[in-house]
């Protein structure tokens, strides 16, 4: 299964970026094979508004079924919910750590956004 992780860099050893919408990269990882793709999120990093929504659309397009990140705001959460993507907030460490935690069943999925909207 594919999952998405917000990341500061392009590979599995990059630290997780706690921001979802404005993370520089979204790493799409196959949880079985650890094959991954780094999606450049640079355009959203500088978006005026709605970065989280576009990041959610990108994650959905890549076919990921879950997102591991630090903070997820209400609009991004609503978008991910519409795309039927589960969200785990408060995930930290490297991308590799996060995938391992996911595979061991050590991430908890959230029912709510955990940060406020940006105005």
């Amino acid at each position: 299964m594919k999952i998405a992780i917000s990341s500061r860099g392009k590979d599995l050893d990059s630290p997780i970026d706690p921001r979802f919408g404005r993370a520089p990269y979204l790493i799409i990882v196959d949880t079985d094979s650890l094959e991954f793709e780094a999606v450049d999120n640079g355009a959203n990093m500088n978006a005026f508004k709605g970065a989280g929504i576009q990041a959610a659309a990108a994650v959905s397009k890549k076919g990921a079924k879950a997102l591991l990140t630090g903070h997820c705001g209400p609009k991004a959460f609503q978008a991910l919910e519409a795309a039927q993507i589960k969200v785990a907030n408060d995930v930290s460490g490297t991308v590799r750590d996060a995938v391992a935690a996911y595979n061991e069943g050590n991430v908890s999925f959230s029912d709510n956004p955990n940060t406020d909207a940006h105005w």
Binding site: F48, K49, G50, A56, S60, K61, L80, A82
Partner: protein, 285 residues
Amino acid sequence: MIISVASGKGGTGKTTIATNLACSYEGSVQFLDCDVEEPNAHLFIRPDIHDVETIRTPVPEVDMEKCTLCGKCSEICQFNAIAVLGETVLPFPELCHSCGGCMAVCPEKAITETGRELGIIERGSRKGMAFIHGKLRIGEAMAPPLIRKVRENIRPDVLTIIDAPPGTSCPVIASMKGADFVLLVTEPTPFGLYDLKLALGAVKLLGIPCGLVINRSDIGDDHVRAYAEAEKVPVLMEITFARKIAEAYSRGEMPVETDDHWKAMFRELYSRIAAIVQTPIEKTG
């Protein structure tokens, strides 16, 4: 003629100047309170409100029966207000600027417009003066479309006084654009001067003739006057810090209602503005 009363800094006396200017005018006048986030001119003008209109702005609604998830709506949207997510398309009405782009590019004609409430417009009158103001819905982020709706009520044949919001951002521009004159109200303090510079910058961008009212003119320092002189902005009126005005204000009264001296001062202010507006514009670069 349209006169917009503006200021960079809040609390300089815009509403006091605008309401007294309007109420001292002898001919037909209409008053537009365009400070739709916090309108307060009605507290002084005390109009009888005749009608209330709810103002909406168009936002997209997607018919998922027709939608093929092509994503063209989301590509054209500059505000990320519509997104294709899995098997659905989700509009975010609070981010939408109502440009209609998504509707125009949808090859399946799956998008129609529905309304997001911006707020209300109330129309009324007082002793022959027409009064119109907008009240932005609490939680609504976009004031300019509501301000433009308030301004649609302008009758070109009568004097129009616009009470603008403070600052220099979009709602202020929406309240000044197209005016014949901008009256900037300031106070002679470092705060007044700093924000006056910003406001004057905005007025210059719009190319509208302007003049200055210095309120509480006997406090602070002379830097505002020096700045006005250097920028060739005429000081059209100075109001000293007077207990009598503060008392009238605290009761929601306008000095021109009860005091002929103030009435004469505000009529003189209007005459000076009219003289500037009627003078052919000299190109000074």
